[in-house]
């Protein structure tokens, strides 16, 4: 028997990459849940090809799944990976530049034959997978396809189906490498293929074959071990950003005792919210509506809101553009509504499968006239839950549409989440008015300038609202100049009043008075935190805040910003938050922009920060 060395690691980044048909997402997800159950912290990010099924074996068809796990806090799926699993030459080609120097590549050599080399765009004479000083990688060449088929020789599946099981071989092999048990995946196979014994059996066989291959082959002599992360006690689950938004909306509307109406039109990367919610419609007070377009989606949501539902929409950039006119209507009508924009790379259709945070300005200003509304952003997959919950709270407390910003990276990424008990979450108050002594006037307001909400069916409160300017109080159509000035100011003030109900901005890392403050928003949280943490370890004078409330800003933001010589604002856009800060506080905040369809690279960000401290 071979000697196995146990190697300790703090964290590991693995990228599973193969053809769209190779089942890499499944491998990634299985390895992830196993990792989570093992008690490591982690973050994942799948990257799908733009095409549904690009031609087999081509770079365009590569599907990947990146997992970062470790024994301390994990903030991002990581820049460069320690281990690349490449199921074919195309997967190798599109990922090799993202492997750490000294990293490991596990390659299925069946995927590197002449045909696959050609499809990936290599010359027949190109030499890959060779250990050499220049590449500085460690290559493990395994004929995974062949080994899979061999392990199934007793099974009466056809060749294609046998071939398809090769992802289980990879999974088994990695389970061995990281010294895991494969019970969780066996259970998964049991459930998933419960209706097809043959396939179930085959998958289990191959999974075990992969594991045993690791155990027996001389190729691998190391096994990697990581300590459990120190996690605060509680109940955990894995969650993606889109699932978290769906849950947040559902739970919040229940906390407000309102039925929920989710109106949308499919668009990447928002569609999964619809898919998730649609499944809940029989069990919970949720209705989903796939409208004929984004305009109809938001309009139907406005109709439902008038009718007394908690209405929400989900979309992405181009769909958001189409909602502009109706958002203005919701502002004037002062109806509650949550619009989730799961951003992707623009402009126009842009790169629908790549991430970006370039719709902040659109959220703030993309409407005709003065139509202010609150904008908040989520900063991690699980944070999407709280952001959605908060969006609902604000919409109902202030009778206003709210824009909630997420993005493709949060939507598809996932992480462990210490989820709350339902009872631990606060109730949400609404402005619903069931009866009134005086004559009901729809635009009568409370101290915070918020109007009441009387819904059809409520006797004696019949009233009409609309998109023409309205007289404050009565809500009658009004063309008076002074009233209009008053109403424009009032709508702005009402939104400004939200600042009274939101938490003060907290410093996320570092000290007040450090040399540099890094100001982020949204999904850059992980990258920025990682960079700043590392710099703090290097004793650099740097601090970090991540702004959730983009409009209005927290009341103490100015005070924080003024404490720093340098304010650096990294964004995955061409500079938007940085402009808001410059304008509002007249601070010479510096933009840092990488617009490459992916999360900020931590190493590059660190280099940038180092220029200022």
């Amino acid at each position: 028997m071979k000697t196995i060395t146990k190697v300790n690691k703090d964290d590991v980044i693995i990228k599973f990459a193969g053809d769209s048909g190779d089942g890499m997402q499944l491998v990634g997800n299985q390895f992830t849940s196993n990792t989570a159950l093992r008690g490591h912290d982690l973050a994942t990010f799948p990257d799908f090809p733009a095409e549904i099924r690009a031609p087999l074996g081509t770079v365009a068809g590569v599907s990947g799944f990146q997992l970062h796990f470790g024994s301390s806090e994990i903030e991002t799926p990581g820049d460069l990976c320690d281990v690349l699993v490449a199921m074919n030459a195309a997967a190798y080609k599109s990922n090799i530049k993202n492997v750490k120097p000294g990293g490991t590549i596990i390659a299925d050599i069946s995927g590197f034959d002449k045909k696959n080399m050609r499809l990936a765009g290599y010359q027949e004479t190109d030499v890959l997978l060779v250990n050499s000083a220049s590449t500085n990688f460690t290559f493990f060449q395994v004929d995974i396809t062949k080994l899979t088929v061999e392990s199934l020789k007793e099974v009466a599946l056809d060749a294609k189906d046998k071939d398809r099981a090769k992802n289980m071989f990879v999974l088994g092999l990695l389970f061995w490498l990281y010294d895991r048990s494969f019970e969780s995946t066996l259970a998964f196979i049991e459930e998933r293929f419960s209706k097809n014994d043959m396939v179930k059996n085959a998958n289990s066989l191959v999974l075990k074959a992969g594991y045993h291959f690791g155990e027996t082959t001389e190729l691998f002599t190391n096994q990697y071990e990581l300590k459990k992360a120190v996690q605060s006690p509680g109940k955990y689950r894995g969650i993606s950003g889109n699932e978290a938004i769906a849950l947040g909306l559902m739970v919040a509307s229940s906390k407000a005792s309102l039925p929920m109406f989710y109106a949308t039109y499919p668009i990447t990367p928002a569609s999964d919210i619809l898919h998730f919610l649609a499944k809940q419609t029989k069990t919970f007070n949720v209705q989903t509506f796939q409208a004929e377009d984004e305009i109809a989606a938001i309009c139907s949501a406005i109709g439902a809101s008038f009718g007394g539902s908690l209405s929400a929409c989900g979309t992405s950039g181009p769909g958001m553009a189409l909602k502009a006119e109706a958002l203005g209507l919701a502002v004037t009508m002062e109806l509650p509504l949550v619009v989730c924009n799961i951003q992707r790379a623009g402009p126009s259709t842009g790169m629908p499968t790549k991430t970006e945070q370039s719709d902040l300005f659109q959220s703030l200003y993309g409407r005709n006239g003065e139509a202010p509304l609150p904008v908040i952003a989520a900063s991690s997959p699980s944070d999407c839950f709280f952001a959605a919950f908060e969006a609902v709270r604000i919409a109902l407390a202030f009778m206003t549409p709210v824009i909630l910003l997420s993005d493709l990276y949060l939507a598809n990424g996932s992480e462990p989440w210490k989820y709350p008990e339902y009872n631990a979450l606060p109730e949400i108050k609404t402005r619903l008015l069931k009866e009134s002594k005086e004559k009901f006037e729809p635009y009568n307001r409370n101290e915070a300038l918020v109007r009441n909400w009387a819904i059809p069916g409520t006797e004696g409160m019949e009233h009409r609202i609309g998109g023409l300017e309205k007289k404050d109080g009565t809500g009658d159509v009004c063309y008076d100049g002074d009233n209009h000035h008053h109403m424009v100011k009032l709508r702005a003030e009402k939104v400004a009043n939200i600042a009274e109900t939101i938490p003060l901005q907290e410093l996320s890392l570092g000290e007040l008075n450090a040399d540099v403050l890094i100001v982020g928003w949204g999904s850059t949280n992980g990258s920025i935190r990682t960079a700043v943490k590392e710099l703090l370890l290097e004793k650099k004078s740097v601090a970090h805040i991540q702004i959730r409330y983009l409009f209005p800003f927290p009341k103490n933001l100015k005070g924080i910003l003024e404490k720093y010589k340098t304010v650096l604002v990294p964004e995955i856009n061409n500079g938007q938050l940085v402009k808001l800060i410059r304008e509002k506080y007249l601070i010479d905040a510096i933009p840092y922009n990488k617009i490459q369809g992916q999360p900020l690279n931590v190493a590059e960000l660190k280099n940038e920060i180092l220029k200022y401290c």
């Binding site: 849940s33 989570a36 159950l37 008690g39 996690q231 605060s232 509680g234 109940k235 955990y236 689950r237 894995g238 969650i239 699932e243 849950l247 739970v251 229940s254 039925p259 109406f261 109106a263 809940q280 069990t283 919970f284 007070n285 209705q287 509506f289 409208a291 004929e292 305009i295 109809a296 309009c299 139907s300 406005i302 109709g303 439902a304 809101s305 008038f306 009718g307 007394g308 539902s309 209405s311 209507l329 009508m333 989820y419 008990e421 339902y422 009872n423 059809p456 069916g457 409520t458 006797e459 004696g460 409160m461 019949e462 009233h463 009409r464 609202i465 609309g466 998109g467 023409l468 159509v477």
Partner: protein, 334 residues
Amino acid sequence: MEVEKNIPTLTAKDFESDQEIRWCPGCGDAAILKQMQNLLPSLGIPKEKIVFVSGIGCSSRFPYYMNTYGMHTIHGRATAIATGLKLTRPDLNVWIITGDGDALSIGGNHFIHLLRRDLNVNILLFNNQIYGLTKGQFSPTSTQHQVTKSSPFGTDDKPFNPMTLALGAGASFVARSIDREAKHLQEILKAGQAHTGASFVEIYQNCHIFNDGAFSMYTDRASRKNAALFLEHGKPLLFGEENQFGIKLDGHQPKIVDVKHEESLNDLWIHDESDGIKANILSLFFETETFPRPFGIIFQKSSKRDIDQSQPYKEISVEQYNHLLGGKENWTVL
């Protein structure tokens, strides 16, 4: 719709709001408003259960004048807004008020989709064959070659036939009336409201400022009997000063016949609201010069949609929510 008990008897007056009417004096819109206010008390629906939803246009001012719940929204979107309202509040009685530009130009898509979905709402299209509110441009129902502010040399486009369009989109109730025929209009509104599913009523409405007399052939003494065909279910198709003309189907082709001289009444086309093929033939009269324009219920069938009338708020247990929050797979850190 379940009619609630013990509703105080309402009068037309109860449905008048406190807002001053701002249509041009003599506008057809006002005549339609009046019939609506006359009709509603007879339906036995409490005021607070009624919602009028409109887009933008002269006609879309309608909700302001109704003392019910109402929304005056944005151009073309009343249908979409009403869709969300009705989906979530099937208990409400929802009326959509829209113009030819509002429904068929900018709002064409929501219009056909609402008919396809066949929600239980009433769509009233105030067709004046012009853009009233923006002061006189052609609309998708303006006649071909019509000279308007935006078509000084006449329009190129042929107009929509709103009936074939609605039928083509899958409408389950299609009817036509006209502002000047108070009684007919009220009957049609009532029938549309009684229909379960989306009812579509096109109402010819005179805009005497920008398109005066567009429908005068159907209202003028001299021409109306020859130009208009008033349909009644189960009755033969007759028109003319003395109902001297009839229509029969020769195979699948409609023919006008002189009842007095040529044919016995028995051979005539008997109106059958439920016959989709006949409805289509009737609606195609629009495209001819020879056939009279049909008024009344052109088509009515039972809706294919499972219409969920009551959608009670479910009581969900805390456990169910905790289960939802916990997802499929979770673990405990001690």
